[in-house]
């Protein structure tokens, strides 16, 4: 099963996203941002790629600003 990561501008936003998704029952993990992705912030949120579409509206509703979403190889 492949994973993806959500990248953020700031750690505070990563925390906000983690809270919003965990509250909705999603299994997400805060991880160090993989160096291959250019990011503003050192922490990223790893999630099962199959949930990529399902998490979008939740982040939107929680006013989470996402810098980028990347699929992990």
């Amino acid at each position: 099963m492949s994973n993806g990561v959500i990248l953020f501008h700031t750690t505070a936003m990563a925390m906000k996203a983690e809270k919003a998704l965990t509250k909705e029952g999603f299994q997400v993990t805060l991880v160090p941002t993989p160096r291959e992705f250019s990011s503003d912030c050192g922490i990223a949120l790893r999630f099962p790629w199959s949930l990529a579409e399902a998490i979008k509206p939740i982040l939107q509703n929680a006013a989470v600003e996402v810098q980028a979403v990347q699929k992990l190889g």
Partner: protein, 382 residues
């Protein structure tokens, strides 16, 4: 020992505060927002949880608009120096603490037009005079929520209406009111709120914050300090996004942990319960003091219109003598003098001698207040 100096810093602190601070060092000792390992993430979670507690307390729509600072003074400096430029007009009151007045007087020298509107002798605001001073185009209205000398509460909603009517932002110094009086920044029209963690929030010293309302365009508020934020590390310029724009350097994570625990304690206890208890003590103090011959009580002398701060003097005695004797002979700890607010003492007619200030807190008992009144009665006689 009876501690009546809660307006300087609240004491004692709830045991939860001490535990949260020691837990942070023991179990979440990484640098929040810098590295990506588990200890760094654990610390970042504590910082974010406290951001949420602060946002909840003040009804701030977004925890990322809560900026952590060392104290209310730094938060006020951030707002004042960040917003005001030469040629801008700022209006304040004659009841301010030096945390607001000194930056404003300095900015005045740098070309800001400053108007200090005189308050009434009891510390209450002269609203018509204030409205007249806030002319269209005024950039900022800055005022204290509750006086640190007499406890007098300012009518923030009315002042906000005046400020917004002229196109100005309203900055509030909530050092003495945060976590004691109900504060809803959206409903009360507060654009910027400066608070400290070590008074009403029952947290440690060295942590406070600036809450930035939705209407403030942060591209127009320069940061007071620039530096590492753990974000945009490939760039040599300060990021524009919040909270990083105003939070350079490693934050006081231990202090933030303590602040979070203090605010949780306040939320669970209920601000209404805290306020009711403090008002009961304040009422007993004011009533008791006014019955002692030779004692003058300052401020509006109505506990509903003030926080738990009571200032008085005794005829024929210096304030330092009263303070020293209360400490040495009775173990009662108070603060005497000018309390970093010379303009407020001028307003109330107590400059340059100052006053004796009694500030009970949530953990003060009515019995302690009664003991204190007896001691003051004896001191006033002898």
């Amino acid at each position: 020992m009876i501690y009546l100096d809660n307006a300087a810093t609240s004491w004692p602190k709830p045991p939860e505060v001490l535990k949260a601070m020691s837990d942070l060092l023991e179990r979440a000792g990484g640098n929040p927002g810098r590295s990506g390992h588990r200890l760094s993430i654990a610390a970042a979670r504590v910082v974010y949880d406290t951001r949420e507690e602060v946002a909840l307390l003040f009804n701030c729509s977004d925890p990322l608009r809560v900026i952590f600072t060392a104290n209310a003074t730094y938060a006020l400096n951030q707002a004042l120096y960040g917003l005001l430029k030469p040629g801008d007009r700022a209006v304040t009151t004659s009841m301010e603490h030096n945390a607001t007045m000194r930056p404003l007087r300095d900015l005045e020298k740098k070309g800001v037009t400053l108007v200090v509107v005189p308050c009434h002798k009891d510390g209450t605001i002269d609203l018509p005079a204030f409205a007249a001073a806030v002319t269209p185009g005024t950039r900022l209205v800055a005022l204290i929520h509750a006086s640190n000398i007499a406890g007098t509460i300012m009518p923030l909603a009315e002042v906000a209406e005046i400020a917004h009517g002229a196109g100005a932002l309203m900055l509030v110094d909530a050092a003495q009111s945060a976590a004691v009086l109900p504060i809803d920044i959206a409903a009360m029209g507060i654009d910027l709120l400066a608070f400290t963690g070590h008074k009403g929030p029952l947290g440690p010293t060295g942590i406070g914050g600036l809450v930035i309302g939705d209407k403030v365009d942060t591209s127009q508020m320069a940061p007071l300090a620039r530096g590492g934020t753990g974000s945009q590390s490939d760039r040599e310029e300060q990021p524009e996004f919040l909270p990083d724009k105003y939070e350079s350097g490693t934050p006081n994570a231990v202090g933030i942990a303590g602040l979070g625990a203090g605010l949780q304690f306040v939320r669970k206890t209920g601000t209404t319960a805290i306020l009711d208890h403090e008002r009961q003590l304040t009422e007993a103090l004011i009533e008791g003091l006014m019955n002692i011959r030779g004692v003058t009580v300052y401020g509006c002398r109505e506990c509903e219109k003030s926080v738990a701060i009571v200032s008085f003097t005794v005829k024929g005695k210096t304030v330092s003598e009263i303070g020293q004797r209360l400490d040495e002979e009775y173990g009662i700890l108070v603060r005497v003098g000018l309390h970093c607010a010379p303009v407020a003492h001028r307003t109330m007619g107590t400059f340059p001698e100052g006053t004796v200030r009694l500030a009970p807190g949530f953990f003060t008992t009515l019995a302690e207040v009664k003991t204190t009144l007896k001691a003051i009665e004896r001191l006033a006689r002898l």
